[in-house]
């Protein structure tokens, strides 16, 4: 790789648009992904993340704008781009009739690997995702987390320059999620460029160097997780939960407690640099919440600020 090429973005989108009939799924978005970066699309379901990923993955033609992936137009040279991508789709597309190892072998064949080469890589990858002892078993009895790890192993069989992960841990229990995150983190450290979509703010915070927040087919903010939190939220958040019915009677009593007060159906969020100080102030005003929690601001708060809604509804 020349130093000149290294400065070129791996993905570059300008006014990228996807329409299904009259429905606009992706509305003229701009973004760049640099080599070696872990880049995220954060947003609720239906924000246009998957449609964007499918256009990057050269399986879905764009409706408008420009898109360059690995320096090439995916609508023109789809197969050539796909040869260098790894794709982890939102829904598992494993061959349940085949064994774990066979799934990797046949997938390696799709990339024109010889059987000998595909087998060497498959065994290495099964080791990497900690499924070596399952190589000869059928896919169907595997747990959701194991299937996810197998899908990740499969996506790496062609040693991709760019790995696309659509909701990599949706539907997994916390332990399985951490295992997947750990493997993705190792890939990131090896320098693999990751592009992922998620509606979990903790996932985005853990894995992404940089992310864009998507809502209703548009990008509403862009930056590193830390920068986004600094820009759109306060350092800390005071969460107050009141007995049923009490919250609606508090008009005016919460004003000025912090920089900003956000009322959710089940609790009140007070944004403040010092959460403890805000809690003390609330006590002094005679407020008696059922529970009090002071926490650091997260991307969830950024999203709430930007859209007025929660990520997971």
């Amino acid at each position: 790789m020349t130093s000149d090429a290294a400065r070129q973005p791996l993905i570059s989108a300008r006014a990228l648009t996807k329409k299904f009939g009259t429905f606009v799924a992706v509305d003229a978005i701009d973004f760049d992904v640099a080599p070696g970066e872990a880049f995220g699309f954060l947003g609720p379901n239906g924000a246009g993340k998957t449609s964007t990923m499918r256009m990057i993955g050269a399986v879905s033609p764009r409706s408008g704008g420009q898109l360059s992936v690995l320096g090439t137009d995916p609508d023109q040279h789809g197969a050539r781009i796909r040869a260098r991508l790894g794709v982890v789709p939102q829904e598992d597309t494993l061959d349940t009739e085949l064994t774990v190892l066979e799934n990797l072998l046949i997938y390696g064949r799709y990339f024109d690997l010889s059987y000998a080469e595909a087998r060497i890589r498959a065994l290495e990858l099964l080791d990497f995702v900690q499924l070596s002892d399952r190589a000869k078993t059928l896919v169907e009895p595997l747990s959701g987390g194991m299937k996810r790890r197998l899908t990740i192993a499969r996506s790496l069989i062609n040693e991709p320059d760019l790995l696309l992960l659509d909701e990599p841990t949706t539907g997994l229990d916390p332990q399985a999620r951490h295992l997947v995150w750990d493997r993705l983190y190792r890939l990131k450290q090896r320098g693999t460029t990751l592009v992922l979509t998620t509606h979990y703010m903790d996932e985005a915070e853990q894995l992404c160097d940089r992310l864009v927040v998507m809502d209703k087919a548009k990008i509403v903010a862009e930056g590193s997780p830390r920068a986004l939190i600094e820009q759109y939220s306060t350092k800390e958040v005071l969460e107050l939960r009141f007995p049923a019915g009490v919250q609606d009677t508090l008009d005016g009593q919460l004003d000025g407690l912090g920089d900003r007060v956000e009322k959710l159906p089940d609790r009140v969020l007070v944004y403040a640099a010092d959460g403890e100080a805000a809690a003390t102030a609330a006590h002094e005003r005679g407020l008696v919440p059922e529970t009090i929690l002071v926490r650091r601001s997260s991307l969830e708060d950024v999203f709430l600020r930007l859209t007025g809604r929660s990520l997971i509804e």
């Binding site: 690995l70 789709p89 072998l105 799709y110 990339f111 690997l113 040693e159």
Partner: protein, 269 residues
């Protein structure tokens, strides 16, 4: 041009359009063939002994059957019908799994495999699968003494073409389906009537005149007629054979062209 140099290909293997999809089908078949093999073997034995031998012993070698024993008349008809059924099955449920239940095709198109490869690979697979089923049938029928002419071997490719033509047409249609509900209707109202009234068990001349011409427009009739003429082997009329072959090949080509369109519409969205 690509901005970043692609890694040097390592261990790159021989390939041609559709080959990888065929390999996938063979991978799966290697896992499941035992489940289908017994039925594939037993079905011709049952049909040929019950209808060809037992019922056939009551049927005189009439000119309507080309002057041959009923078993000799029946075997190529059953052969073509079995090819049609196999093609139709392969073009419905297992194919639909690739689109909807397992999403195998979604996985394929996120690799260098294209929609064209998927259609071609599926077409090759129809040839292989129907070739196996009809090949077993040919062996069983041969052992029953159903083949008397050396041209009988040509009945095999003829039956395969018939089955593939049905299979690829069904496949093109299956790609447009959102659910599997209509598949059993296809079998009840298209496959079974064709099986019964396309000359499999009796010559279509036996049908009432108003219905007989309908049989001429059913694709299975042409497949059966071609396969039977080649199997029995005497008085071959090359013009008639060419017409039958043209209908079967025409169906195969049209089905394939439609499959390119419907598969693309289904997968590239």
């Amino acid at each position: 041009m690509t901005a970043i140099a692609a890694p040097a290909p390592r261990g790159r293997a021989f390939n041609f359009p559709g080959l990888r999809k065929l390999e996938h089908s063979l991978f799966v078949y290697r896992r499941v063939w035992r489940g289908t093999f017994f039925g594939t073997l037993v079905s011709p034995v049952l049909f040929l002994s019950a209808m060809g031998v037992a019922l056939g012993s009551l049927v005189p070698s009439m000119t309507a059957f080309g002057g041959v024993p009923y078993l000799v008349f029946l075997a190529p008809g059953l052969l073509s019908a079995q090819a049609m059924q196999t093609g139709t099955i392969e073009g419905t449920w297992p194919l639909f799994a690739g689109f909807k239940w397992l999403k195998t095709f979604d996985a394929m198109i996120s690799t260098p495999i294209t929609v064209r490869d998927i259609v071609l690979g599926h077409l090759y697979w129809l040839f292989v699968r129907i070739g196996i089923v009809t090949g077993i049938f040919m062996v069983v029928a041969f052992l029953f003494g159903a083949f008397t002419s050396p041209t009988f071997i040509l009945a095999w490719p003829s039956a395969i073409l018939t089955g593939v033509a049905f299979g690829i047409c069904m496949s093109a249609w299956t790609a447009t389906r959102k659910t599997e509900q209509s598949f059993s209707i296809i079998f009840r109202f298209i496959v079974t009537p064709l099986f019964l009234f396309s000359g499999t068990f009796f010559p279509i001349e036996q049908l009432p005149d108003q219905i007989e011409w309908v049989a001429w427009f059913t694709p299975l009739f042409h497949g059966v007629a071609l396969t039977r003429a080649l199997a029995i082997g005497h008085d071959l009329n090359l013009v008639t054979l060419a017409i039958h072959l043209a209908v079967v090949l025409g169906l195969l080509v049209i089905g394939t062209l439609f499959a390119f369109r419907t598969f693309r519409k289904r997968l590239v969205i």
